[in-house]
């Protein structure tokens, strides 16, 4: 490193890699249901694509994590979005395309994609 | 040199600002006891005998190492200081053989002197004591670690002044003692037998191997110049009953209190039975003792005969780089003024 600018750049890059270790109360959490039925329904690829998006878009305040069965096996793949100050939103019957859409509209722009929510699908 | 004003025992004194408290006290004629101090060495501050009370300091301070500062107030003999010195002597005694009666150092032992001065009449501690084998491998001195008080002067003289580094501290804590590396013994070490360690030992740990039995108070000291090489070391001959029984270095300008093995230990030739004590005249190939008058008579007769026969130029004399200036002067004068030749030379070239 030859300058402070370079150091700053390295810091930004590095932080992305390990930011999830920070104890944060703020920011968005996307929790993917990853029980056996979820995995069978393709939850893993959803999880990976969400992670991909977060990385690509450099979303610092977004963490993607997984959880066990949330009890809606027939709606799998399922993930939940927790945004500070908002009610939890549960998206069901997810596909890669839908997940991408949720990412763009809800996570980034803050507009819930009502049509995929659990409320619209029960 | 800038000076500072300090107070020692309530008396004001002005001293150079690079003085230690010890130097300042000495200047005022106040005697502060020391065991590990030697003005030629870096201050070691280990014996803690020289501690004094310095106003404002939490602990007692070692006067050998602490430099004076303007306005400093010092007590050299307060109750607290004296108690500390007593305790230190008490502790040293607890780990020292109680054999002053027969110890050769008796009379010049600093531990003995201070125990006397500070009324430490016995040790109040019992427990472990040193038990080392005496290293008597050197032909010149003993190393009896049972008497050592770990002042470190020997080690420091060997490393800081002599730069031989033959001895050092071995082990740690209570087991600290002075030895050669790997306890191989002085004689097998790199020691050059200069005896400068022996000369600075304040107790009887490093003592010359003496042929004579003598008490130091029975001897008189005669300051003289070493008769070996051309360095001109100053030293004191210890004399008892018309015998040189020991040598101690003096602080001369060229030797700064150091000596070498020859100066320190090479004096026994003086009392050697081989010494010539009567003039000898060779008669029929054999030496026969004679009186001075006979010897002088013979020499004068020969000089006169040869001179009248062959003149002055057949005479020659070798004066000596071993004799005094006065003797060399007389020798050349004898030849030049008494005999009439300039053939006087000496072994300057050898």
């Amino acid at each position: 490193m030859k300058s402070i600018e370079e150091l700053r750049k390295v810091k930004e890059e590095s932080l992305k890699r390990i930011n999830l270790r920070k104890d944060r109360e703020e920011g968005t959490r996307i929790v993917v249901s990853m029980d056996t039925c979820g995995i069978a329904a393709g939850a893993r690829s959803i999880l990976m694509s969400l992670l991909d998006e977060v990385n690509k878009r450099d979303l610092k305040d977004v963490t993607v994590t997984q959880t066990g069965c949330i009890g809606a096996c027939n709606l799998e793949p399922v993930f939940e979005v927790y945004k500070p100050g908002e009610e939890k939103v549960t998206y069901v019957h997810m596909t890669l395309e839908k997940a991408k859409q949720v990412m763009e509209e809800h996570i980034i722009n803050g507009k819930i994609v009502q049509e995929y929510t659990i409320g619209s699908n029960q | 040199m800038d000076t500072v004003i300090i107070k020692i025992n309530d008396e004001r004194v002005e001293v150079p600002n690079d003085f230690t408290i010890l130097q300042a006290a000495k200047k005022m004629g106040i005697d502060i006891p020391t065991l590990c101090y030697d003005e030629r060495l870096e201050s070691h501050a280990a014996c803690r005998m020289c501690v004094v009370e310095v106003e404002g300091a939490r602990n007692l301070q070692t006067s050998c190492s602490l430099k004076v500062a303007d306005g400093m107030e010092i007590k050299t003999h307060s109750e607290r200081v004296i108690q500390a010195r007593k305790d230190i002597l008490d502790l040293l005694w607890a780990n020292h053989p109680n054999d002053c009666l027969t110890c050769e150092k008796s009379g010049e032992c600093k531990l003995q002197e201070y125990c006397y001065k500070y009324d430490v009449k016995e040790t109040t501690f019992e427990g472990k004591r040193k038990n080392y084998e005496i290293d008597d491998s050197s032909p010149f001195f003993y190393n009896n670690q049972n008497k050592c008080i770990n002042c470190g002067k020997c080690v420091r003289v060997c490393s800081e002044l002599q730069h031989t580094n033959a001895i050092g501290f071995s082990e740690r804590g209570f087991n600290t003692h002075v030895s050669t590396p790997f306890e191989i013994g002085i004689d097998n070490s790199v020691c050059v037998s200069c005896g400068n360690c022996v000369s600075v030992c304040p107790v009887g740990a490093l003592m010359p191997k003496s042929k004579e039995k003598f008490r130091l108070w029975e001897t008189k000291k005669v300051r003289t110049t070493c008769s070996y090489c051309g360095v001109g070391c100053q030293m004191d001959l210890l004399v008892k009953d018309n015998k040189v029984v020991g040598v101690q270095p003096a602080n001369g300008p060229s030797n700064n209190g150091l000596l070498c093995v020859k100066g320190k230990f090479g004096f026994n030739f003086i009392n050697h039975p081989d010494r010539l004590n009567k003039p000898l005249i060779k008669k029929d190939g054999q030496f026969v003792e004679s009186s001075w008058e006979e010897a002088y008579g013979l020499i004068v007769e020969k000089v006169n005969n040869i001179k009248s026969e062959k003149g002055s130029e057949v005479f020659a004399g070798f004066t000596s780089a071993r004799c005094t200036n006065e003797e060399n002067y007389l020798f050349q004068k004898l030849f030049r003024a008494g005999i009439g030749t300039n053939s006087v030379d000496h072994c300057a070239r050898l």
């Binding site: 932080l15 890699r17 104890d23 959880t67 | 280990a46 087991n175």
Partner: protein
């Protein structure tokens, strides 16, 4: 760059490493690969998490799940359930991480929640062997800021105004030290780091070097800039192999990245550093002895003054601070004086790391703001005394410190309050004692340590501590006399008053403070010949209780034939003849023999 969705952090501190955390790491990596998770889950070996009681520790992020005492066979379950399926394995969680309502993340566990981590900020959070992880959390930003925006004087001003005091023991104001070293004249100066942590039970410096070595490197570079030095040395004991290894890796990485060496960050400032290994002598933690040791001399202290700031390493001006002190510096530089001063007390700002040990539930490392009451540390963070025993005293400051009794549990801890109580902060050892600890024996234990560690240079310490130990041994063996207590006290005061270095000056503290608060225990030993805590074997008697079945085994093994009794009847011991060898107690199959 691959971004992982989950990180598994495995404690690589010395404690957890000795419980085979290195094997856990391999197992995790192995199984993660098997499950094809290696692109999603990263395994990181960190420094110490502090709660060593719970080791080996594994933390899984982003949840912050706190797994404790993990065995090799537990790994598969964590991988399968947690990493793959996202189900936290409750049975393996640290017990303090589960409450009725929910699972707590590591940050919410009492042990951590009540701490304030500055020096230990990155310990257990980053990989010490990856400079990028350090940089990610603002690493080297403090240095960058100083080099580009501040003059050396300004750096010293910040350190001074922060009120940071030396964490190695005496609490000397760090800024003042820096100032002395900066003002000292000389073309060569050195920055030294004292990592010769010697207090028994204290391991915060080791943990910092193992967990966050770059913080020390950054701080030393900062110090170099501030005082005008281009060379640093870290003196660390050879028995800290992990710390040494990680520090060396960190130095190498910093050099590689241009954060050590010539022209750091293009500012024209040069600084480099090397490690010097010590052989583990306690006294080498004393700064002048440490310097002597680096020079290749025998590790013996030198009298001060001159202080190292004027005549230190190779007689050149040298700045010497301890590891924990340095670990605070980068953040002070970055977050500023006000932030730092907002933590702690007025005269002791910031935090202090303590090593909790002895009779306490949560043994380990804790970092708390100065001014935290002892009670909070011992009960809230430390979890109190195990087995329902009564708290008796806490020993702080290691062999140089003293004991603090229950009366003073509400004292806010800082440098001055501990000294006022006759103890000291020291490097932060905190040993809790309960009713079963004999205070005379505790004093004897610490004296034994100092006698062992005395360098032997000055008379009071070399000869005096040995005599103190002998007196204490006599007392604990029941051979003490009343006068011994006074003699002990007198000797302790002289040693304190006259010793050359801090080791000797503080060596009598355990004796003086136990004499102050527990003189009655000493008196019980010498007058009544009893040990109230029941620790000193020689003062106890063997008794046979009614559990005895009269099997005669004890009587048969007794070498002094002092046990009598008929077969199938309760035996008895003649205590006048008993030599207290304990053979009977060992032989008794019914636990019928007790010491009282």
């Amino acid at each position: 760059m691959n971004i992982y969705r989950s990180h598994v952090l495995i404690c690589g501190g010395t404690g957890c490493t000795s419980s085979k955390s290195d094997k856990l790491q391999k197992e995790f990596q192995n199984l993660i690969q098997k499950k094809d998770l290696d692109k999603e889950v990263k395994v990181v070996r960190t420094g110490c998490f502090g709660l060593c009681e719970a080791g080996p520790i594994v933390i899984v992020y982003p949840e912050g799940s706190f797994y404790s005492q993990i065995k090799l066979e537990d790994v598969e379950e964590i991988v399968e359930e947690h990493l793959l399926k996202g189900v936290v394995v409750k049975r393996l969680l640290y017990k303090g991480a589960i409450s009725e309502e929910a699972i707590k993340s590591i940050y919410e566990v009492d042990f951590y929640k009540k701490q304030e981590r500055i020096a230990l900020k990155n310990c257990g959070v980053i990989s010490p062997e990856d400079i990028y992880e350090y940089i990610a959390f603002d690493g080297y930003m403090g240095l960058a800021k100083a080099l580009t925006e501040m003059s050396p004087e300004e750096v010293i001003k910040v350190v001074t105004e922060s009120g940071l005091r030396g964490r190695g023991g005496a609490g000397f104001p760090t800024g003042l030290k820096w100032n002395f070293a900066a003002k000292a004249t000389g073309n060569e100066k050195y920055v030294l780091c004292n990592a010769d942590e010697g207090d028994p039970g204290a391991f915060m410096d080791r943990s910092i070097l193992e967990g966050d070595p770059h913080s020390v490197i950054e701080a030393m570079s900062l110090a170099g800039y501030a005082i005008g030095s281009n060379q640093g040395y870290v003196y660390v004991r050879a028995e800290y192999p992990i710390a040494v290894q990680r520090l060396q890796i960190a130095i190498n990485q910093a050099r590689e990245k241009g954060l050590l060496g010539k022209n750091i960050l293009g500012t024209g400032f040069d600084f480099d550093m090397e490690i010097r290994l010590g052989a583990g002598a306690f006294v080498c933690g004393e700064e002048t002895a440490l310097i002597a040791s680096i020079e290749g001399e025998r590790g013996m202290p030198r009298n001060k003054p001159p202080f190292p700031a004027n005549k230190g390493l190779w007689q050149k001006p040298s700045l010497i601070n301890n590891v924990e002190t340095y670990a605070n510096i980068p953040q002070i530089m970055l977050k500023g004086v006000d932030w730092f001063k907002s933590i702690g007390t007025e005269k002791s700002s910031g935090t202090k790391v303590f090593a909790l040990g002895g009779k306490i539930e949560n043994t380990g490392l804790v970092e708390i703001p100065m001014g935290t009451p002892l009670r909070k540390v011992i009960y809230d963070i430390g979890g109190g005394i195990p087995n329902g025993k009564e708290f008796k005293a806490v020993q702080t400051g290691g062999p140089s410190g003293g004991c603090i009794t229950a009366d003073h549990l509400d004292t806010p801890i800082d440098f001055d309050s501990l000294v006022a109580l006759g103890s000291m902060m020291g490097s932060g050892g905190m040993i809790v004692m309960d009713e079963d600890n004999c205070m005379v024996d505790i004093a004897r234990f610490f004296l034994d340590f100092t006698v062992e560690e005395s360098c032997g240079k000055c008379n009071p310490c070399r000869e005096g501590t040995q005599r103190m130990l002998e007196i204490l041994e006599r007392i604990t063996e029941g051979k003490g006399e009343v006068e011994d207590i006074d003699k002990l006290e007198r000797l302790a005061k002289t040693i304190k008053d006259t010793s050359l270095c801090g080791l000797g000056q503080t060596a009598p503290n355990p004796v003086l403070s136990t004499l102050k608060y527990f003189r009655h225990e000493y008196e019980a030993h010498v007058i009544d010949k009893t040990c109230p805590a029941g620790q000193c074997k020689a003062l106890l008697d063997y008794f046979i209780t009614d559990k005895c079945k009269g099997c005669t085994k004890c009587a048969r093994v007794c070498p002094s034939s002092c046990i009598t009794g008929k077969v199938k009847e309760i035996h008895s011991i003649n205590n006048k003849l008993c030599i207290k060898c304990g053979a009977c107690m060992e032989a008794c199959p019914f636990d019928a023999i007790i010491l009282k």
